[in-house]
């Protein structure tokens, strides 16, 4: 939770109104994000509930009229990193370090020149479960950025704020994440016999 933002005291009836009007419409998106992070329906529901309680408690730092979805996603992401990552079957610290090292050495990273084995038509044929499984198999930082960008369509600037990273890192992480996702999809395509 960003405590640098000045908190205003909001009457309870007003807080409830803001919650219903600004936050509840994003519950589907929050659940999807939580499910991709935790890979478990119960954990995802707990994570969304905890996020909503935190959002309600700190509603004074939310400015009505600003982008509520980005504010909620930031709380959810922080909540996941601080609490759920420790107890879930999520990635280990080593995995996070690996991701950061991969990103810092982005310049040296050589993307496969050409995904000759993966075509637009192949992806169109794939089932949602197969693409979801490929996303779930990514390191969590890669998973997060793919979901934020491709599923939720946040801008790079919004993602930088949600993930608390520079916009340049958003670009390089997203590019790398997509390359790894495509590598996973090539494996799936070969295994399942897609052409």
């Amino acid at each position: 939770m960003d405590v640098s933002v000045e908190e205003k005291i909001i009457p309870d009836y007003k807080a409830k109104e803001i919650f219903e009007k600004e936050f509840m419409p994003h519950l589907d998106a929050m659940y999807n994000f939580a499910l991709k992070l935790t890979a478990d329906e119960d954990d995802a529901q707990d994570l969304v509930q905890d996020t909503c309680v935190k959002a309600f408690r700190f509603i004074g730092s939310f400015e009505p009229g600003t982008y509520a979805k980005a504010w909620l996603f930031r709380i959810l992401k922080n909540n996941f990193i601080n609490d759920y990552r420790k107890k879930s079957r999520g990635p280990s610290k080593v995995e996070f370090e690996w991701v950061e090292q991969s990103i810092s050495s982005d310049e040296e990273y050589s993307e496969p020149a050409y995904f000759a084995d993966l075509h637009a038509e192949t992806v169109q044929e794939m089932m949602g479960d197969e693409i979801t499984a490929a996303i779930q198999s990514l390191p969590v930082d890669f998973r997060m950025i793919i979901i934020l960008c491709d599923l939720e369509e946040f801008s790079y600037e919004e993602m930088a704020k949600i993930l608390h990273i520079p916009i340049g890192t958003v670009r390089s992480r997203l590019h790398r994440a997509r390359a790894v996702l495509k590598e996973k999809l090539v494996e799936y395509a070969k295994k399942k016999g897609y052409h």
Binding site: V48, A120, V123, Q124, D150
Partner: protein, 90 residues
């Protein structure tokens, strides 16, 4: 038409920015002009676009109905607690 692209790594970055609506008008115009002459860029563009569309259309699940009720119940409890506790300390 070119069968290989000597700038493919850079082109893929531009393609992704275009698909994410983050490219400048100039970047987009240059890419679209060159795309028709370069097979890897054409296929790269189609692949990135289909992947983004597939994630949007196939990887979303609806939030369970009971979660709405659970959240409202939790907030109601929190609301009651705040209503009782705050006057005690003020």
């Amino acid at each position: 038409m070119k069968a290989s692209c000597e700038h493919h790594h850079e082109c893929m970055k531009v393609i992704q920015r275009i698909i994410d609506r983050e490219a400048t008008d100039e970047e987009e115009a240059v890419f679209l002009t060159n795309k028709d002459q370069c097979l890897p860029c054409q296929e790269g563009y189609a692949l990135e676009l289909s992947l983004k569309k597939a994630i949007q259309s196939k990887c979303s699940v609806p939030c369970p109905e009971q979660l709405f009720a659970k959240i409202r119940a939790k907030l109601f409890l929190l609301f009651i607690l705040i209503s009782i506790l705050i006057p005690l300390f003020c």
